[in-house]
């Protein structure tokens, strides 16, 4: 899944660098609540560990072998911020020291594997293992499923990145300039390998390590277990400062994933007609049926006049270059959520600056 240089356009790379940088920034910021002196050696050694685990050549059912990503076990032991940073650092070393994965695509690789991988692993592990004891079998199963989902989510995001290249970038002759396959080819091609081999490798190694730690070193599983007896003094317990933001993130992610449901709903939303829709007879009959009032004979002139006042950047929730409507919905949702988060974070930042200084030392 390490994308080399040349598969993604520079603009895609720039967007993903920005996305990755946001992840790194917030991860570093959250970890700074813990003593920074402790974070530096912990993340470094853990990144080195992840690097070594990525090299394990695991035998898989069917006689093949596969490599794990190591992101799930890093997230389970260190929490999402620690997982994001240690896997990112391992990926940077792989790219800059061993030439695995490109330089221009480094942001994309970190975004897919470290950030998406870590957040999906964390979310699914916490949900499935919720309430189970440190030594329970459910925790092992949760870690395996989390590993499987994390790798496949990362692969899906990479496949979407590949798949939008031929839609967006062509030369004068119409030849795709970067990864050549559209979404309908890129997604199945990437997913077949990950749904089978890579996903299983990650699931297997994560479950194995969690089972081992349950027996040999259960304290290492405490920091993300969600159990109240969370020993705060442990060196590896890199807990974030607040839990409220995390719940928000989970809710946001769930809502984003549900967005394609919108296109399954039949008809148009009541009261959200455009002038052209209002002129249609079937829309008018539905208004009559629902509201029990006569439908307007013609499109109201005020609506007609104001309709062109504001055109959305993503008309009808689907950017023009996206062929699939469901994907367009998802992309629009991601854009909107990103925009809103940026807005709320900058507001928070502004208010903190203006507000009374709190002494938290």
């Amino acid at each position: 899944m390490h994308i080399p240089d040349g598969y993604l356009s520079p603009s895609t790379c720039a967007v993903l660098y920005a996305a990755a940088a946001t992840g790194w920034y917030s991860a570093l910021k959250r970890l700074k609540h813990v003593l920074l002196t402790r974070v530096v050696p912990l993340i470094s050694v853990f990144a080195a560990f992840s690097f070594v685990v990525m090299m394990f050549n695991l035998p898989l059912p069917g006689g093949t072998t596969g490599h794990a990503l190591g992101v799930t076990i890093a997230t389970i032991v260190l929490g999402p911020s620690g997982g994001i940073l240690s896997i990112s650092i391992a990926l940077v070393i792989q790219a800059l020291f061993f030439g695995d994965g490109g330089i221009s695509s480094l942001g994309a690789n970190c975004f897919n594997m470290a950030i998406v991988g870590s957040l999906v692993a964390y979310g699914s592990y916490r949900v499935i293992a919720a309430g189970s004891g440190i030594a329970s079998r459910r925790r092992v199963a949760a870690s395996a499923i989390a590993g499987y989902l994390a790798v496949n989510a990362a692969a899906l995001v990479a496949a979407v990145e590949f798949g939008i290249q031929p839609i967006l970038f062509h030369d004068a002759h119409g030849s795709p300039l970067y990864a050549p396959y559209p979404l309908r080819v890129a997604i199945p091609a990437m997913m077949i390998g990950h749904l089978t081999f890579a996903g299983l490798a990650e699931a297997g190694i994560t479950a194995g390590v969690v089972a081992y730690l349950q027996a040999a070193d259960p304290a290492l599983l405490r920091s993300t277990s969600g159990l109240s007896a969370n020993a705060g003094g442990e060196a590896w317990a890199l807990r974030p400062a607040s839990g409220s933001l995390r719940r928000l993130w989970i809710a946001v992610a769930a809502l984003m994933l549900l967005t394609p449901l919108g296109i399954l709903a039949a008809g148009t939303a009541w009261g959200e007609w455009s002038p052209s829709q209002l002129a249609k007879t079937n829309v008018q009959t539905s208004i009559v049926r629902a509201a029990d009032t006569p439908a307007p004979a013609a499109v109201p002139s005020g609506l007609q006049k104001l309709a062109n006042l504001w055109t959305a950047p993503f008309p009808a929730y689907a950017p023009g270059f996206v062929r699939s409507r469901a994907f367009g919905y998802l992309l629009s949702a991601m854009f909107a959520v990103g925009f809103l988060l940026a807005l709320s974070l900058s507001l928070q930042h502004f208010l903190q600056k203006r507000g009374p200084t709190e002494y938290s030392g």
Binding site: D5, P41, F46, L58, I103, S175, Y212
Partner: protein, 269 residues
């Protein structure tokens, strides 16, 4: 004989260490890249990689590939090493992706083989992809081969990366080799105690246990490192010596790199 988990992983570890040693040897030689300030090397080669990805013309990417070979020769990088480590490997895995595109990309038909049609657009996109990846990876590998890791890190400071991140990258690099050696020894000792062939399920269990032991060791190691750092007065401030000096040749080199990259972007637009 088909290699199991133990053997193939140990071979992988050995390959990593060999690669690192080859890099260190090449970096010590005298040559064009080695004579330049590491910051110039990093900025210069990164800008060439960017030019490769920005170019829309096959001819321009091909010209950049020639530039990469010229830099390799003038920096005394063995073309055989490049061929084995980059060109053949990249060709093998990019061709798997690029070749089907020759047939499935819609466009003007140039020939047909049985039920498959070759399009001009398909040929162009396949050649472009292979050439682009080959050239970009060659530039990156030249940087890796001609610059010691510590210099790459110091040069990254020029990109305003936080000092903590540089410190983590430096420490990770050091402990990668320590942990590779530790894991290698664990697997070798297991191998020497193993008679017969292990079943895949047993191999998986062994891999997971090895990773688990390694994880506990890593946490312990990080504790020791932390205490060692603290006892030497580490308070969270990272100091990085910056003893690089830019000379006339370095400025000239930087100018040449940037001009070449800009020219390539302009020609390839």
């Amino acid at each position: 004989m088909k290699r199991g988990f133990l053997e193939s992983t140990v071979v992988g570890f050995a390959r990593i260490i060999t690669r690192a040693m080859i890099s260190e040897e090449t970096a010590r030689q005298t040559g064009f890249l080695q004579a330049l300030d590491p910051r110039v090397r990093v900025v210069g080669l990164f800008s060439l990689v960017l030019a490769v990805t920005l170019s829309k013309k096959i001819s321009v990417v091909a010209a950049l590939f020639v530039v990469a070979v010229a830099i390799a020769i003038s920096s005394r990088v063995s073309l055989l090493v490049l061929a084995k480590r980059v060109w053949l490997v990249v060709l093998a895995f990019t061709a798997v992706i690029a070749v089907p595109a020759i047939f499935v990309t819609p466009g003007d038909e140039v020939a047909s083989v049985g039920f498959l049609t070759i399009t001009e657009q398909g040929l162009r996109t396949a050649v472009m992809l292979i050439l682009r990846v080959e050239t970009a990876v060659t530039f990156t590998t030249l940087l890796i081969l001609c610059t010691p890791w510590s210099h790459v890190l110091k040069a990254l400071r020029a990109f305003r990366l936080p000092k903590e991140v540089i410190a983590m990258l430096a420490m990770t690099h050091r402990y990668v080799f320590l942990l590779v050696e530790t894991a290698g020894q664990m697997l070798e000792s297991r191998r020497s105690r193993t008679v017969g062939i292990l079943k895949p399920a047993e191999q998986r269990r062994m891999a997971a246990r090895t990773a688990g032991v390694l994880l506990s060791k890593s946490i312990e190691l990080s504790n020791e490192v932390y205490f060692a750092m603290q006892s030497r007065g580490f308070r969270g401030d990272v100091e990085i010596l910056s003893d690089f000096r830019m000379g006339t040749w370095d400025y000239l080199g930087l100018l040449t790199f940037l001009l070449a990259a800009s020219f390539a972007v302009w020609m390839g637009r």
